[in-house]
């Protein structure tokens, strides 16, 4: 087993060697511009791009013509929200989203609020799920877009997208889904789910960084967008700029691998996740699961270790790459807004750790992780005044703490 161990696969993933191999010729031999119509360098690249578009479309049950390449999911989210807002401004000025969306959606929504749009941020239940009824009740005759994520990047909770899509259809409102964490990990079908626009990216699914896609529905309804980037009219005019052919080819290959291996891979990764959770909870008391017990991404485990601060815990497992909802890991000194939206107390939000298991993790790595986490938690609990007080029977909630 090689150290350090990578367990931060929600953040990004290692590029699959099969993906890299597919990409390489497009740097050195097939280096044409896919938009060059007059020579073979251009033709072979255009062909490669269209083949990749097919592979990507197939994974999400879309038509290849409905895939618009972007620089990544953040750009896709920006294009979906701003593009719809600007295009449909005369129809309405109201957008519905949820409080646990990725910053790429939330910050874009905030920007649109400054531009005069009204945004409803729906709450989530204690497992992190958006209620389709809440979506229905929030819709007004001014609503032009609903944007709800497929799976949350911190807690892995999977939203009832199909039901939300149904509500959107009923009410005739466009539905954007940020599916960055879900595509390639769980089945996604834009037809069955009633999705009109969908963001996702390559580097979350063992593809290269720097390329993503926005699915834009062409029929029933035909979605129109005001572009963010103007120029040569590439990508049906929705996103100008020369396509990064090697990245696009890699994205396609990554999607193809996911399509072929998702079923078996999800089973294997879920087993590793369950092994990790069991190993940790068998050895430690007061470990709390954040998110949904079953409706969650196979590779996601998010838990809070009571009486232990998250960043200190990460420091104790320095050979393992993980992420924490602790304030100390963010620039703002505020704990995770996602966990706070679930109603997790600030104390337990500070104590949260996100494990992201992926394609290249092994059982041996999971067992090592269990061992290291248990040791570090015990080390820190022995050091924790809160653990001591709790053991003495003091109710920590009754203490008058001096906030600082």
């Amino acid at each position: 087993m090689k150290l350090p161990i990578y367990l931060d696969n929600h953040s990004t993933t290692r590029c699959d060697p099969r993906v890299l191999e597919t990409m390489l010729p497009y740097f050195t031999e097939k280096y044409g511009n896919a938009a060059s119509r007059n020579h073979s360098f251009g033709w072979e690249c255009e062909e490669a791009v269209e083949a990749a578009r097919q592979q990507i479309a197939r994974l999400v049950h879309a038509d290849a013509k409905e895939i618009v390449f972007t620089s990544g999911a953040t750009e896709s989210d920006n294009l979906a929200l701003k593009g719809v807002a600007e295009m449909y401004r005369e129809k309405g000025d109201h957008i519905i989203t949820s409080s646990t969306e990725h910053r790429a959606v939330l910050d874009t929504a905030k920007y649109l609020e400054k531009k005069g749009f009204k945004v409803t941020y729906l709450p989530v239940d204690k497992t992190g799920m958006v209620s389709p009824d809440d979506v229905r009740n929030a819709i007004t005759d001014r609503t032009i877009l609903i944007s709800i994520m497929l799976a949350n990047n911190e807690i892995g909770t999977i939203n009832p997208i199909k039901d939300i899509g149904k509500v959107a259809k009923e009410k005739g409102v466009l539905f954007h889904c940020d599916a960055t964490q879900g595509v390639g990990k769980i089945p996604v079908n834009v037809q069955e789910m009633g999705i009109d626009l969908m963001s996702f990216s390559a580097h979350k699914i063992y593809g290269p960084k720097g390329v993503g896609a926005l699915y834009v529905r062409r029929k029933a309804p035909r979605v129109r967008l005001e572009p963010l980037i103007h120029g040569g009219g590439h990508e049906r005019g929705m996103r100008s700029g020369t396509l990064p052919v090697p990245l696009v080819v890699g994205f396609g290959k990554a999607c193809e691998i996911c399509e072929q291996e998702m079923d078996t891979e999800a089973v294997r990764i879920r087993a590793l996740r369950d092994r990790l959770y069991k190993g940790i909870t068998d050895a430690l008391e007061e470990v709390y699961l954040n998110g949904h017990p079953t409706e969650r991404l196979p590779g996601n485990l998010n838990v809070s270790f009571a009486y232990v601060e998250g960043e200190a815990l990460l420091m104790g497992v320095k050979d393992i790459a993980l992420s924490s909802g602790s304030a100390c890991t963010s620039a703002t000194l505020e704990p995770s807004y996602v966990l706070r939206a679930l109603g997790v107390g600030s104390d337990l939000a500070h104590s949260s750790i996100r494990f992201g298991i992926g394609r290249f993790n092994t059982e041996e790595e999971i067992d090592y992780t269990i061992d290291q986490i248990v040791k570090a938690v015990n080390h820190l609990r022995a050091m924790s005044p809160l653990y001591e007080m709790a053991k003495e029977g003091i109710d920590l909630k009754s203490v008058q703490w001096a906030a600082h």
Binding site: E309, S346, H350, P385, Y387, M389, S398, V399, Q400, W401
Partner: protein, 142 residues
């Protein structure tokens, strides 16, 4: 964020980690911070003849908070009450090479020192209660 070697050393080998009995007359206890803020420090001193003969800490917080309080106990031992009162958070920042975002950890450690000193002085009748400084947390059961 990369930690300084000194922070890592205190984290791995905390000095004077533990607790004294709170109700003993020669023990001063300071508890500062709040779980909601992600930092709680408990610092205790044992005083004989105006001199701190022993010190202990327990901390819930990040590595820098742990290191700040661990370092504080090292510095407190052997100091008189007056000398202990002179320890500044900036000394801790300097010794541990804390980055700007972690300065609040050193402030908390200074608060904990002050709170422990005040608690002891109050017990020993050296100080009126209304002049108490620091941000000591009070527990309903103590």
């Amino acid at each position: 964020m990369a930690y300084s070697e000194k922070v890592i050393d205190h984290y791995n080998n905390p000095r004077n980690m533990g607790s004294f009995k709170k109700d003993e007359p020669d023990v001063g206890t300071g508890i500062v911070g709040a779980p909601e803020c992600g930092d709680v420090m408990k610092l205790q001193i044992k005083v004989r003849d105006n001199t701190i003969v022993d010190a202990k800490f327990k901390t819930f917080g990040c590595g820098s908070a742990i290191a700040s309080s661990s370092l504080a106990t090292e510095w407190l031992k052997g100091k008189t009450l007056e000398e202990a009162n002179q320890i500044k958070n900036t000394d801790i920042v300097q010794e541990l090479n804390l980055p700007p975002v972690k300065i609040h950890c050193s402030v908390l450690a200074e608060d904990a020192i002050k709170a422990a000193l005040n608690d002891y002085k109050k017990k020993a009748g050296l100080q009126r209660e209304d002049t108490q400084e620091g941000t000591m947390a009070s527990t309903s059961s103590s």
